[in-house]
């Protein structure tokens, strides 16, 4: 398999957090009861006309600037015509030939290193409504989402793996969150992704026939969909077959995909400029104003973390992907002499369980104190993680210094306090000692473990290991 590489392009739809919909005054909110945020415009009654919400343009420009795109001085809204019950006007207002943001790029970081993913363009468009399938009532239409503003970010085929796609999406989420234009939540559908994928022999610069998988709505599913589709295409090519250019539906339950329609059945959307809307003109002064509102972006912060706090690129990327985490980390780093230790705790124990929205569940001061305790070796790393987890769930702001004292969790750094325990651990683990002496270094872990157990996990593990080694060395063979 390794002789093939995947060539992936993404189309990412991001719902913008504007107060109102893109072409009418209806509220743009998630979770309202069905068909309450609707009006003649967004349900396409005869005679109703769209009027562009300029806030949508401003937000899209912010996203474009964050993605290093050029902002077109003139762009145009077009109609994409097709019939579907969630689309009451029978056309989606979108941009085709003349999008708002041109080009651009995003740098992504994976365990394999850095890659620059170029963007083709970013355009604005209106979302469609939603169909709700019920057992009894049949299929019902909810038009609350009809007319919710979207940007579509279209990449060049620059992505080579599922991990890069994942990192790209996380970066997009970070950028829209930093700029405040979207909550970027895939679980709510405010970020959705189409995957275009083809494969080719590694080293080739030709493009193979691609398939498209539409509307994938979680980071995890994107990864699975890519992995599955890559294998499927490679298997077909390996067995001498050909890839059909088609649209495929990814089934998140089975982790597999099936053909939806082939190229021959592709719809003709009959794009044409929407005569109800005038071209979007952007003045230089407006652009400057919006530029001034762009906050410091993740890449800048990342460079600072590497530079100032000696973090790895990969860790810095993880910390900057969520603006709440980045802000929290920076506030913590200012208060401790050991920011790297604070970063480790955040990455190991805060990020995995962090809710998509809401505050970080502890104060920078708490983590800074904890990092200091660790740095000064007043507690060991086990205790550190234990206390950190407690701080994350405690209802009151837990003070690590007080807690350590109260529960006697200070690290045992005193040789004489460990002496006896180590002696008996060595005596009780003759086989481990023999193994260690025979070059099986890992065997020493069993002995360390016993000492840790004997001190309720409070022994200084490095000191313990050092003392055990000294003592074993003195045991005659």
């Amino acid at each position: 398999m390794s002789k093939y590489e995947a060539v992936i392009g993404l189309e990412v739809h991001v719902e913008l957090l504007t107060e109102r919909k893109i072409f009418c005054h209806c509220r743009n909110e998630f979770g309202a009861s069905p068909n309450t945020n609707i009006c003649p415009v967004c349900i396409a009654l005869p005679g109703a006309l769209p009027v562009l919400n300029r806030q949508v343009v401003d937000y899209a420009i912010k996203a474009g600037l964050a993605c290093n795109s050029e902002i077109a001085p003139y762009s145009q809204l077009e109609r994409k015509n097709y019939f579907y019950p969630d689309l009451p006007s029978a056309y989606q207002i979108t941009q085709g030939k003349h999008p708002l943001c041109l080009g651009g790029y995003i740098d992504v970081e994976t365990a394999d290193g850095k890659r620059r993913v170029r963007l083709n363009h970013i355009h604005i468009e209106a979302d469609a409504g939603k169909l709700v399938h019920l057992d009894k009532e049949g299929t019902l239409v909810d038009l609350n989402r009809a007319g919710v503003p979207l940007i579509e970010i279209v990449t060049e085929p620059d992505i080579r793996s599922a991990a890069e796609a994942d990192a790209f999406l996380r970066k997009i989420r970070a950028l829209v969150q930093y700029t405040g234009v979207s909550d970027g939540r895939m679980d709510r559908g405010s970020m959705r992704c189409d995957v275009n994928l083809s494969v080719r022999p590694e080293g080739s610069d030709e493009l193979g026939t691609r398939t498209e998988m539409k509307n994938i709505n979680s980071f995890n599913f994107v990864v699975k969909a890519i992995e599955h589709e890559f294998k499927r295409q490679v298997n077909i090519l390996e067995s001498g077959g050909e890839i059909d250019q088609e649209t495929r539906r990814f089934d998140s339950n089975t982790g597999t995909s099936s053909s939806l329609r082939s190229k021959e059945d592709a719809m003709d959307y009959r794009y044409f400029p929407d005569p109800d809307l005038v071209p979007i003109a952007i003045k230089t002064s407006e652009l400057e104003q919006i530029k001034a509102q762009i906050p410091e972006l993740p890449d800048v912060r990342m460079a600072a973390y590497v530079d100032r706090w000696d973090l790895s690129h990969y860790d810095a990327d993880l910390l900057t992907n969520d603006i709440r985490v980045a802000d929290f980390f920076e506030a913590t780093a200012e208060k401790t002499a050991y920011p790297k230790l604070a970063a480790n705790l955040i990455i190991a124990d805060l990020l995995p369980g962090l809710a998509e929205e809401g505050d970080i569940p502890l104060l920078p001061r708490q983590l800074a104190d904890l990092a200091d305790l660790l740095g000064k070796e007043e507690i060991n790393s086990n205790t550190g993680r234990r206390v950190f987890k407690l701080m994350l769930t405690a209802t009151d702001a837990l003070d690590p210094n007080a807690y350590i004292k109260e529960h006697n969790l200070a690290q045992i750094n005193d040789r004489s306090a460990l002496e006896d325990l180590i002696d008996s651990a060595i005596a009780n683990n003759k086989k481990a000692v023999a193994d260690y002496k025979n070059g099986k270094e890992i065997a020493i872990k069993a002995i360390i473990g016993q000492v840790m157990k004997g001190t309720s996990g409070l022994a200084n593990p490095l000191l313990t290991e050092e003392m055990i080694k000294e003592k074993i060395a003195r045991i005659p063979d």
Partner: protein, 481 residues
């Protein structure tokens, strides 16, 4: 009191002088409507009760000494593609024969503010596509001047209602002559305003880039009054112009001395029947005798206008009418087993032949394969026509042209679609270029059927159109004296 002989200003001052009440006025027009409708079929809905209620409240306000706008208490009718909250707005189609809008079109709201009294909704060609009202789901309207003839279309109901004295004024909509042509066939005054002067909000879209609402009245003065009431910037229509409004009556009484009129002579020779050419030339001579200058107007090839118009209008129609899908509102076929059936059967059963023809033409013109060859080329032609007319209007004040090639045809006349399309030559020019056109009666045939004359001016030159239009009308009364 003969209300029929009074213009809107006279009716308005009569109301204020308590010579009659708004209720009496409304009752008069309702009675006219009741007696004429069985024959004419100008209305799809007559809203008698709501009209009387509105008239009563007007009378109360007047009796209380309130200052009301000039159209207060004046009955009127709206074409049935103009949304009226709570009142059927069918666009002349089976597809919308059960559609009652929950909102008012801007022009309707403005006339409500004026306290004008809505008498009902008028008949029209289905979705404003046609020139005879014969494509209406509600049957054709008859021309009140000769009930064997069509009143024209698509705003045929509005034109017939005004010509028959069923209402003092009505609104129509004009995309490619749908106000000007029926005005000509019925011998009344019809204005197609400059594109973007009147809000399109709430008017069922046919060709978004050309649709304009315009007044149909008996006199030029009335027409200017009504346009004053409905024109103006509307934030709900993105293309709506945002300039301060002129006084549309400001030119009235000034005559035509010193104005330059351009005659498209080459088209007069080839495109209209001789009596119509005579009528136009005689009007030109009449204006000249009042101090106007008449010059031949030469432009590039205007014959390309018609195919461009039908391509563009079909293209936009095919998109604009997609919303009539049987899902959300309007007619839904009873025969369906799946989604595709709903679309297919509802649209097949709910739409008429001409509508389907244009949807198919437009779908073809926008298809990715033919987009460049048809839609884009037609847009270029439109730009060319626009340029040619604008250039011509740089050298003259107004173009003076016929409205139609012939007088109102007999109902039921069989013609091919292409033959019918070709008749629109003179009325698609102004819409393609976004220009205003005023249709005026100017003479008639021996049998009494009126001939229409139109003035086309630069964008937003409506006051000048009315100024000259008044002089054209004055020629008529001289002639009949």
């Amino acid at each position: 009191m003969d209300f029929n002989k009074m213009d809107i200003e006279q009716l308005a001052s009569g109301l204020r002088a308590r010579e009659f009440t708004a209720v009496e006025l409304t009752r008069h027009y309702l009675a006219e409507t009741a007696s004429k409708e069985p024959e004419l079929n100008a209305f799809i809905s007559v809203t008698s009760e709501a009209a009387l209620t509105a008239a009563e409240s007007c009378d109360k306000a007047l009796a209380g000494g309130e200052e009301l706008p000039v159209l207060a208490g004046i009955p009127f009718a709206l074409k049935d593609n103009i949304s009226t909250k709570g009142i059927l707005t069918s666009s002349g189609s089976k597809m919308l024969s059960n559609y009652i809008p929950p909102y008012d079109a801007t022009v309707r709201a403005k006339l409500k503010e004026q306290r004008a009294v809505l008498l009902g909704k008028t008949n029209m060609d289905e979705f404003a596509m046609g020139s005879t009202t014969e494509s209406s789901f509600y049957g054709p309207t008859k021309n009140p001047l000769d009930t064997t003839r069509t009143p024209g279309g698509s705003s045929g109901g509005s034109a017939a209602a005004v010509a028959a004295g069923e209402v003092p004024f009505a609104l129509g909509s004009d995309t490619g002559g749908s106000v000007c042509q029926p005005a000509a066939y019925c011998g009344i005054v019809g204005m197609r305003p400059s594109y973007s002067l009147v809000s399109r909000y709430g008017v069922a879209a046919m060709t978004s880039s050309m649709d304009q609402v315009g007044p149909l009245t008996k006199t030029v003065r009335d027409n200017a009054l009504v346009l004053q009431a409905i024109a103006g910037h509307d934030p709900q229509d993105s293309v709506s112009q945002n300039k301060s409004l002129p006084d549309f009556s400001s030119g009235l009484g000034r005559g035509v001395k010193g104005l330059r009129f351009g005659l498209p002579l080459d088209h007069l020779d080839t495109k209209v029947r001789p009596e119509i050419k005579e009528a136009i030339l005689s009007a030109a001579a009449g204006l000249e005798s009042q101090g106007a200058e008449i010059v031949p107007v030469h432009t590039g090839n205007l014959d390309v206008a018609l195919p461009a118009y039908y391509l563009l209008t079909s293209a936009e129609v095919s998109s604009n009418l997609g919303r009539f899908d049987g899902i959300h509102y309007g007619y839904r076929s009873k025969e369906y087993e799946n989604l595709e059936d709903i679309y297919f059967n509802s649209r097949s059963e709910g739409m008429g032949k001409e509508t389907k023809r244009r949807i198919m033409l437009g779908t073809f013109a926008l298809s990715s394969e033919f987009y460049e060859e048809f839609y884009v080329k037609a847009q270029k032609v439109r730009t060319y026509i626009c340029h040619e007319l604008t250039m011509a209007l740089d050298r003259i004040d107004l173009i003076l042209a016929p409205v139609t090639a012939d007088i109102a045809p007999k109902l039921g006349t069989k013609k091919s679609p292409v033959e019918r399309y070709l008749e629109s030559f003179f009325v698609v020019l102004a819409p393609l270029a976004g220009l205003p056109a005023l249709s005026l009666p100017s003479g008639h045939l021996a049998d009494g059927m009126p001939i229409g004359l139109q003035l086309i001016g630069s964008a937003f030159s409506e006051p000048l159109l009315y100024q000259a239009g008044e002089s054209v009308m004055a020629l008529n009364s001289k002639e009949s004296n």
